[in-house]
């Protein structure tokens, strides 16, 4: 897999959708990189969190992922 291209695709897709929605399930990322196995995409996404491009949001039972600092949650949670 071209990891750089995959990361770029993820960032572009998330930015495009950021007006209406800032957080996504892991499965939504699989659709962005349809030719790769879920496991491979998962590793790219988790690495992007390490690199501070993305961040997790946890409901406790499920985890959502979005662009770092985007969305209304940070403000609502008093963490911005």
């Amino acid at each position: 897999m071209d990891i750089e291209a995959a990361r770029e695709t993820i960032l572009t897709t998330l930015k495009k959708k950021s007006k209406s929605k800032s957080k996504f399930y892991l499965k939504d990322f699989y659709k962005m990189i349809p030719d790769e196995k879920p496991r491979a995409v998962k590793n790219v996404v988790n690495k992007m969190v390490q690199d501070e491009l993305l961040e997790y949001w946890s409901s406790g039972s499920t985890t959502l992922i979005g662009l770092k600092g985007m969305g209304k949650q940070a403000h609502a949670e008093d963490e911005d």
Binding site: Y25, P38, N46, Y56, S58, G60, S61, Q73, A74, E79
Partner: protein
């Protein structure tokens, strides 16, 4: 002098059962006194305010907490649950009050040295209030502020050689029963495999990998003391394939009343003298036991290993020695489509630490591949099995169907045959057919 009046909570201080209210009060007082000269890193009156806000909930009949999803430690998707008080001005000590899950050691044995280290850390950087333990098994640190999360994690990993547990769409902290460490019935070393799997799948435990939560639980025998069969996506339950070991002398001991039945569990009831026919032979669900010439006989081939006779006569009967485990899959609590028990997938597999539990890992990986590919968002494995069918799971794991997989065969004949299962496929020649059947 308490910071907040708590007339309702005060009524929970009486009665014999340990009062959490008394305990919270003693902690609030200890923090106020600070005899250890701790430089508290979160408000010293956090526990006072915790009592205050709980009293308010008792008064209102409503919670005063809000959820927070962003806070965590860097690079981990689980292990921290954000909490904020919805009355921060009245209870500033708990305005930000996040939970941390600390991965407990398998078997939940501790040395006091280690527990005291945890206490010192949590006193210093958190509220000093814990759960020993949470429902999944983790040690729960209840209440700290956002800046302290990384500090606590740093100290845990650097000084205590200790990691966080799982939450979110991750592998959750695996847990186990006491196993062979102090139980004669354990058919495998639950602690060894629980620890191994926890270490093996650290990435899956700390970073979202799945459509939803995923739980492993290890029960050493079919008594299921950690309730794996009811709440683990994969339950690992010890079992055996050979004969129940019998000590006939000890059987006679029970009959003679030398030993208390059921390990003395019924000592305070008026149950009369032990009657082996009434209490063991006739209760056996398969009817595979009998008394012949005063000797206890077991038709082991017919035994389903329910543990009843062994539970009743622990000195006389023990599980066999050809031991392994059964894997049942898909258990979950009711939300959403109803509760599910684990369904039997692998009746018997060897538990072999020498090859890193190869045979077991193979099944786990196959199930995960399937679920990661096909599982919908927030769909547990058990729900996927229901949606796509048990057969599909057999396909994905390469396990052969066998009568053990079902309670009973299907009651409808609506078998959706696949084309390659039917000779000639689905494209019969209509012209050929019409040669013999007029329109």
């Amino acid at each position: 002098m308490a910071k907040h009046e708590t007339p309702l909570l005060d009524q929970l201080e009486s009665g014999p059962w340990p009062s959490f209210v008394s305990d919270l009060k003693q902690e609030a007082e200890a923090r106020a006194k600070n005899e250890r000269n701790i430089e508290y890193q979160i408000p010293v009156d956090a526990v006072d305010d915790l009592l205050g806000v709980l009293e308010l909930s008792f008064k209102h009949g409503r919670t005063h907490w809000k959820h927070g999803g962003i806070v965590g430690v860097f690079g981990y998707g689980g292990g921290v649950i954000g909490r904020y008080c919805d009355q921060p001005d009245n209870f500033p000590g708990v305005a930000h009050f996040h939970t941390m899950r600390v991965n407990h050691p398998a078997g939940k044995y501790y040395t006091t040295e280690y527990l005291k280290q945890l206490c010192d850390l949590w006193d210093f950087r958190g509220s000093g209030i814990t759960n020993m333990h949470g429902s999944t098994g983790d040690i729960i640190f209840l209440g700290t502020t956002t800046p302290q999360l990384e500090e606590i994690f740093y100290e845990l990993t650097h000084n205590l050689n200790q990691d966080l547990g799982g939450s979110g769409s991750n592998l959750r902290t695996p847990s186990d029963c006491i196993g062979s460490s102090r139980c004669e019935w354990a058919c495998f070393d639950t602690q060894a495999i629980c620890h191994f799997m926890t270490k093996e799948f650290q990435d899956e435990l700390h970073r979202p990998a799945f459509p939803y939560k995923f739980k492993f639980k290890f029960d050493g025998c079919p008594n299921c003391c950690v309730a794996s069969i009811a709440r683990a996506d994969i339950s690992f339950i010890g079992t055996w394939r050979d004969d129940i070991r019998i000590d006939q002398d000890a059987v006679q001991g029970y009959i003679a009343g030398d030993y208390p039945p059921n390990g003395g569990a019924h000592a305070d009831g008026n149950w009369g003298a032990f009657d082996i026919n009434k209490e063991v032979v006739n209760i056996c669900p398969t009817g595979c036991m009998s008394m012949q010439d005063g000797k206890l006989e077991i038709d082991n081939k017919e035994c389903t290993r329910c543990m009843h006779c062994i539970n009743v006569m622990p000195r006389a009967l023990r599980p066999g020695t050809d031991t392994g485990l059964s894997m049942l899959v898909g258990a979950k609590a009711p939300i959403l489509d109803g509760a599910q028990m684990g369904s039997l997938l692998v009746p018997f597999v060897e538990v072999n630490p020498d090859n890193d539990y190869e045979a077991i890992i193979e099944v786990i990986e196959a199930l995960w591949d399937w679920w990661m590919e096909e599982g919908k968002n927030r769909e547990r494995l058990g729900e996927l099995i229901k949606r796509q069918g048990f057969q599909k799971m057999l396909d994905m794991t390469g396990i052969k169907p066998m009568p053990q997989h079902v309670q009973e065969p299907r009651t409808n004949p609506y078998i959706f045959w696949k084309e390659d299962e039917v000779p000639g496929g689905f494209n019969a020649d209509i012209t050929e057919f019409r040669k013999h059947h007029l329109r």
